[in-house]
């Protein structure tokens, strides 16, 4: 057995409140293809950031070609031939292919002006294109390439840097089947040239197709590795799950009533050939699980009228309604608490009181003017009800902690008697204490008859809080689970597109 090219021993990394990596070890041999799998938040990305020199581990040893170090810098990583192909491609779409590959290292003519030597630039890129069998030219403008082609450009960039380890973060998440097949062949080719590859993926089929070994992370720990012969979906899923889920579940006061919000065959722009049907009942929390990119947020945006619905219908209390704008949704009592509260939920440097009243200002009028006294009064009421921790409701929202900010977004809608509440990632960036308070509030709302659709990528939350779970996979519902069927295994099975 040849000495491994790279060895990580006992790597740990703790962030305030979270153990991101817990004594993780990983070794990579030349020409080896390793699949790194695990749920959202298992620590995959942090581990790769350690390799890229972006994150410094708290402890552990990195052995690179026999040389031991405590941590890497970005420069070390590049020099050692570690290259990244990111999920969000870091390319300039105003440059051509060659310009992107040699960005910052352009060959120049001599002299004072250091003009770019375009001829040499393109000549250097061409052999790399041939090596990967790329179907575009070195002078093709990047803006004209597909995502799959852009990915190849990233790989070419890596090769131009003499990469010996290429790390790909969910490389296939936005590729079509044919494109995925081509990428798999590129990976085979690199492997044959002795380049090692680590790829993070949620698609177990791809793991079986091209990995020599699968490494499974869970809650920041390495829980197992599977050799090529052992790679089966069942084996992988068994390793990915098995966390102790704390019991968060608060049972509802009454069994769910009739369907309040019903989505029939909804089609969004992201998945124009898939339709989603689901219904949320009165007094119920329906968890909407799925992998990142499965189309859940897009569905929520379409229901709320932010994006157009490309097909299908929305029914409220059995009556078909038309929602073309957020105003229409709000008039029907359907409210959305968006995924990214900083960019879409709040006006950060505006006061708590004004943020809360914003969607409902018309009801604060006195002589055609906003009655600020009543506004403050309502904000104070919400502050007490939701336990928003602040000195003063005139404080700008941006100064609050994540949890308290989220409570302010919630307060906006609670003042307006919600019928349906769509909650996209309710506790992202929220501390543990506020989390419990938010779950508590969700249950109190359903007990008052509100129907809640809760999108969440946090397994603990989905299983711990929902009364029922719908799972999405690539733009369609892959299955529903009742509480008796709740398990990480089942949710994960459905999320990767298998049946339970």
């Amino acid at each position: 057995m040849p000495e491994p090219f790279l060895e990580l021993v006992d790597i740990s990394k703790t962030y305030p409140g979270v153990v991101a990596l817990d004594h993780v070890g990983l070794s990579v041999s030349r020409g080896e293809v390793i699949a790194l799998i695990g749920e959202n938040g298992a620590g995959k990305s942090t581990l790769m950031r350690v390799l890229g020199g972006v994150v410094e581990p708290d402890r552990g040893v990195i052995r690179l070609e026999g040389v031991e170090r405590q941590s890497l810098t970005v420069a070390d990583a590049i020099k050692a031939g570690i290259a990244f192909v990111h999920q969000e491609l870091n390319l300039f779409d105003n440059l051509d292919v060659a310009g992107n590959v040699y960005i910052g290292r352009e060959p120049v003519h001599g002299g004072l002006l250091k003009l770019i030597d375009r001829k040499r630039l393109h000549a250097q890129v061409r052999p790399l294109l041939d090596r990967l069998g790329a179907d575009f030219e070195a002078d093709a403008p990047l803006a004209e390439l597909s995502i799959a082609q852009c990915q190849l450009v990233e790989i070419i960039k890596a090769l131009s840097l003499d990469a010996r380890l290429v790390i790909m973060d969910e490389p296939t998440s936005s590729l079509t089947l044919t494109e995925t097949g081509r990428l798999m062949r590129v990976i085979e080719g690199l492997k044959a040239d002795g380049v090692s590859i680590i790829f993070i993926t949620h698609r177990l089929n791809e793991v079986m197709q091209c990995a020599d070994r699968a490494v499974v992370l869970r809650d920041g720990r390495m829980v197992g590795a599977l050799k090529r012969a052992e790679l089966t979906p069942a084996a992988m899923i068994r390793l990915m799950i098995g966390r102790d889920l704390k019991s968060l579940y608060l049972p509802p006061a009454a069994p769910p009533g009739d369907s309040v919000l019903e989505i029939v065959g909804a089609v969004t722009d992201t998945y124009p050939d898939r339709a989603v049907s689901l219904s949320v009942r009165r007094g119920e929390i329906l968890g909407l699980a799925g992998l990142v990119g499965s189309g859940r947020t897009e569905l929520a945006r379409a229901i709320f009228g932010i994006d157009p619905l490309r097909g299908g219908a929305i029914k409220l209390d059995g009556e078909p309604i038309r929602i073309a704008t957020p105003q229409a949704a709000i008039e029907h009592g359907i409210y959305l608490i968006p995924e990214d509260r900083k960019s879409s939920g709040l006006l950060l440097d505006v006061s708590i009181a004004e943020n809360i009243s914003l969607p409902d200002l018309a009801s604060y009028l006195r002589f055609w003017m906003v009655d600020t006294a009543r506004e403050t009064e309502n904000a104070e009421r919400q502050r007490e009800r939701l336990n928003i921790r602040t000195h003063d409701v005139a404080t700008p929202v941006g100064l609050l902690s994540g949890g308290n900010q989220q409570k302010v977004v919630l307060a906006k809608w609670l003042s307006m008697r919600p019928k349906v509440l769509i909650f996209d990632e309710p506790t992202r960036g929220v501390d543990v204490g506020a989390k419990t308070e938010i779950y508590d509030m969700l249950r109190r709302l359903t007990n008052a008859g509100v129907a809640i659709l809760m999108i969440s990528s946090d397994m603990e939350e989905v299983i711990g809080v929902s009364d029922r779970i719908a799972v999405m996979h690539e733009g369609a519902i892959s299955g529903f689970l009742d509480r008796s069927q709740f398990s990480e295994h089942n949710v994960l099975q459905l999320a990767v597109g298998h049946t339970v």
Partner: protein, 346 residues
């Protein structure tokens, strides 16, 4: 009154006192009345501009619109014998129409406001010059509109001070704009869209409508001031009439606390900003500074004003954050970055 506005007022008083000390003619009734007249005329266009700046836009065609609508107004009442009230209504309608056009191009066609209104600046200026064949438009010998003239350029004695009617107009506009911006729902929407259009949309605000409305208000107020200014100058050379007025308006708005990123500024601040600019103009005249330095003085004062404001707000924020932190979060946490460099543009 906001703290910011108060410090602007203090600055005006200090500058005024210094000018008065060096050259007591500053305090002559005639001089004050004339300066106030300028404040009246420029104040209205500054408020017009402020509406657009608050929603995060910009309006560069103000000066050209003043030229075009000015020559049209004079042409209507002088050459076509249209009653001045009717002519006034037509001009305001034209201003509103320009606002609709700009607002629609910005929202529906998604063209950047700078580009839309830059094109407007060129187009309206050209149209005005073409319309008069580059000749000066004015009132013929003996032409007289006593009522109109009294209303627009007259002065009324208030406690012995001849108060220009342009100032009365400005006071009325300021009062209405203040209520709209600082007390009405629509005003809240203007600020919300300016601060974070996406969050406004997620709160059910029709952001596009709010943006178009801001351009319409700007167009209407600009048309109103176009009539006042036309009556004040009485003759219009379309090549230069009103040129750079948009920059005076933007400068006043910025001095008054508006941020070009949108979502900020107060009406009182904008009016005070106009006052400061006009006092500076006056200062250049009275202190015997070569008038060629006029713009340089103005630019320097604006720059210093904005720098001071930046410094003071940052300090204020830090103090506020320090007050809010201990109870809500661990003390080692820093102030969220977005508050320090409000990246609304993203």
């Amino acid at each position: 009154m906001r703290k910011k506005d108060l410090s602007l007022l203090v600055l005006i008083l200090v500058v005024g006192a210094v000018v008065a000390f060096i050259n007591p003619r500053f305090l002559l009734v005639g001089n004050l009345s004339n300066t106030l007249n300028q404040v009246g005329l420029f104040g209205i266009i500054s408020i017009a501009e402020a509406f657009v700046i608050i929603i995060g836009g910009i309006e560069l065609s103000v000066g050209s619109v003043i030229a075009l609508l000015g020559v049209l107004f004079i042409d209507l009442i002088v050459n076509h014998d249209v009653h001045w009230l009717v002519a006034f209504a037509i001009i305001v309608a034209a201003g509103l129409a320009i606002g609709v056009m700009h607002g629609t191009l910005v929202t529906r066609m998604r063209i950047q406001p700078f580009v839309v209104t830059l094109c407007g600046l060129l187009i309206y200026r050209g149209a005005a010059r073409y319309f008069t064949e580059d000749a000066t438009a004015g009132f013929g010998f003996g032409a007289s509109f006593p009522m109109l003239e009294w209303l627009t350029t007259g002065r009324t004695n208030v406690l012995g001070f001849p108060l220009p009617h342009s100032v009365v107009a400005l006071i009325l506009v300021t009062a209405v704009a203040w209520v709209v911006l600082h007390r009405s729902v629509f005003g809240r929407y203007l600020y919300a869209v300016g601060k974070n259009e996406e969050a406004a949309r997620y709160s059910g605000i029709r952001a596009n409508r709010v943006v178009i409305s801001a351009y319409i208000i700007c167009g209407g107020l600009t048309a109103f001031s176009a009539v006042l200014i036309a009556m004040y100058t009485r003759s219009i050379s379309p090549a230069v009439h009103g040129s750079f007025y948009e920059l005076y308006a933007i400068a006043a708005a910025v001095l008054g606390g508006c941020s070009l990123r949108g979502g900020e500024g107060s009406i009182i601040g904008v009016v005070l900003g106009t006052v400061l600019l006009q006092v500076l103009q006056n200062l250049v005249n009275l202190l015997g500074i070569p008038s060629s330095l006029n713009f340089a003085v103005m630019g320097t004062v604006i720059l210093i004003g904005v720098l001071a404001d930046q410094y003071l707000t940052q300090r204020g924020r830090r103090a506020k954050a320090a007050k809010e932190r201990p109870e809500t979060e661990r003390p080692e946490t820093k102030i969220p970055a977005p508050l320090l460099d409000r990246a609304n543009a993203e």
